[in-house]
């Protein structure tokens, strides 16, 4: 087994135990793992966004290689940019299979405006980008939400009660009982979210039924998610067991032992040192 694979296993084991050590208390192992995780992921995502979105989808549509012409002013600007970086702006245009779309100058300009927030006097330009993002998303999603969350919900709730082949009760398939539960649950659940009237009388009782439906569904969802988390934990343990083998120089055992000794020593030392009374200070 190559040295890099073994080193990778040791790092994975150290970081896993470093994060687990948080269960004891905040300690240098957890701090190291946390700061590495946050720092590396921030850099990683910045790089991913640039190379999967900005370079191919933005620059690739503004200066595609398919329409390259050394004579045009547009590509002369591009050639000027090539001096900055030939990997971002390769000679002859960007070949990502796109045609030229000058409408992409709008997101390009909005991106530049976001960057202008670095200059305090031009800080306000960034609001345009935020306004565009929020406004665009509101308009774009309104139609989808109305279709799926309003009309789709009405269609799904207005179930059929006349199908002769449908059983009255079934846990696994469509049944009259299930359709009734969905009908009552949806209506009472909606009534729970009625804000402009006091929940008293019939409305109060109906909304109480609604909150029971909501809590039962939350309970089921909680159990389902916990099962998923347990499987993730098992996956981590499987890796730790794998790395405890001699092929990886018993990485799991060594790292665990060293961490336990250091944390144990720290616990012993802090037990001897009396805690500082913050309030007295």
């Amino acid at each position: 087994m190559s040295m890099t694979v073994i080193l990778g296993a040791w790092i994975a084991v150290f970081l896993t135990f470093g994060i687990f050590s948080y269960l004891y208390k905040d300690n240098p192992f957890y701090k190291t793992a946390e700061h590495l995780f946050v720092g590396i992921s921030a850099g990683y995502w910045a790089s991913i966004f640039f190379w999967t979105q900005i370079q191919p989808n933005l620059f690739g549509r503004l200066w595609p290689s398919s329409e390259f012409s050394a004579e045009s002013l547009w590509y002369k600007i591009y050639n000027g940019l090539s001096f900055l970086s030939t990997s971002v702006f390769p000679p002859g245009g960007i070949d990502k299979g796109h045609d030229m779309h000058l409408s992409y100058l709008i997101p390009f300009a909005l991106g530049i405006m976001m960057l202008l927030s670095l200059i305090p006097k031009l800080n306000w330009f960034a609001r345009w980008g935020i306004a565009y993002t929020v406004g665009m998303a509101a308009g774009l999603r309104a139609y989808g939400y109305l279709n799926s969350n309003v009309l789709g919900q009405i269609k799904g709730t207005a179930a059929s009660f006349t199908d002769p082949n449908m059983p009255f009760f079934s846990l696994t398939s469509v049944s009259t009982f299930n359709s009734l539960v969905i009908l009552v649950g949806t209506i009472t659940g909606l009534l729970y979210f009625y804000f402009s009237k006091e929940h008293k009388g019939v409305l109060g009782k109906a909304s109480k039924v609604g909150i029971y439906f909501l809590m039962i569904s939350f309970g089921a969802s909680f159990g389902f998610a916990v099962m998923g988390r347990i499987s993730l934990l098992i996956g981590r343990f499987v890796d730790l067991i794998k790395y405890s083998a001699g092929d990886y120089n018993n990485a799991t055992l060594w790292v665990l032992m060293i961490m336990l000794i250091i944390l144990g020593y720290d616990a012993f030392k802090s037990r001897k040192t009396p805690p500082v009374n913050e309030e007295a200070v």
């Binding site: 946050v38 960034a126 139609y143």
Partner: protein, 287 residues
């Protein structure tokens, strides 16, 4: 019929649409007429109620304990001399929950400015960071305390979901905030954050419409704003008539939806049993 101007304009638009319809409805997609009617009806209901609220009509709003607790939480932080931690979720500004979370942040920032309590807002998206900074700056200025605002109170950690959770956890166990507010769109990190907040003894209030995460917040937080309660938070906290009118309008839409559900079920039953009427489900299907 209190708002005559509204009804005159609405009637005019309906007449104009009927003329357009009987003239052969050029450039109109007939398959989506149900969606068109739905959008017009919802928009008209919301506009009517907003106008009524602006004209001075008062609407009752039932109390939501989680919203009342926000001010208590900020007050508790002030008494303890500890910061307030506000987490606006892990998604971008194109998610309605994030937008709602940033709006609620504005109200929380006003409270922290009023009580002179420090506020810490770690974010996971650059645009959210910019929007949250703007909102906080405005809140501190409105409370007459621009000196208390600094850009670093809203700071970026990382885009990665679990790295962000690890970073926020680190902040929690080192700064030990007295109040943790989680308002926005969350995924699997919700329980990690809420459990850590619980372990440090902070008062915790969560608000989200992420169905799969509400159970975790309900379990680990002191108060949870479920779905619509979270979206109504801004109206409750600001008490602005136009926002309260919007809440009233949404309530009327909910009553209309319940009525349509009952009507569609009855129509479907009659159609399938006796063949009378029409297929309501087919009518509601948008191509």
């Amino acid at each position: 019929m209190k708002d005559k101007q509204f009804w005159i304009v609405l009637s005019g638009l309906i007449v104009a649409f009927l003329i357009f319809w009987f003239a052969g409805q050029p450039m109109f997609n007939e398959d989506r007429v149900v969606m068109f009617i739905t959008i017009v009806a919802i928009s008209a209901t919301l506009l009517y109620n907003i106008r009524m609220a602006k004209r001075g009509e008062t609407f009752y709003l039932r109390p939501i304990p989680g919203l009342k607790a926000i001010e208590e939480a900020v007050g508790r932080s002030t008494e303890m001399g500890k910061p307030v931690l506000y987490v606006p979720g892990i998604m971008d500004m194109d998610q309605v929950e994030t937008v709602a979370g940033v709006i609620v942040l504005g109200h929380v920032a006003r409270m922290t400015a009023r009580y002179e309590t420090s506020l810490n807002v770690p974010v996971s998206r650059s645009i959210v960071m910019k929007a949250a900074r703007e909102v906080c700056r405005e809140s501190y200025m409105m409370e007459g305390r621009p000196d208390m605002f600094n850009d670093d109170m809203v700071h970026y950690l990382t885009d990665d979901q679990f790295a962000y959770a690890a970073g926020v956890n680190g902040i929690m166990i080192r700064e030990k905030p007295a109040a943790c507010l989680y308002m926005g769109k969350f995924y699997a990190e919700s329980l990690i954050l809420a459990e850590t907040g619980n372990s440090i003894g902070a008062i915790q209030i969560a608000g989200t419409a992420s169905q799969a995460q509400i159970p975790f917040f309900v379990t680990a937080c002191d108060y949870t704003l479920i779905g619509e309660e979270f979206f109504a938070a801004s109206a409750y906290l600001s008490q602005k008539p136009e926002l309260i009118g919007g809440i009233r309008g949404q309530d009327m839409v909910k009553v209309a939806v319940i009525s349509v559900i009952i009507l569609a079920t009855l129509l479907r039953f009659i159609y399938e049993t006796w063949g009378v009427g029409f297929d309501a489900i087919k009518l509601l299907t948008v191509q």
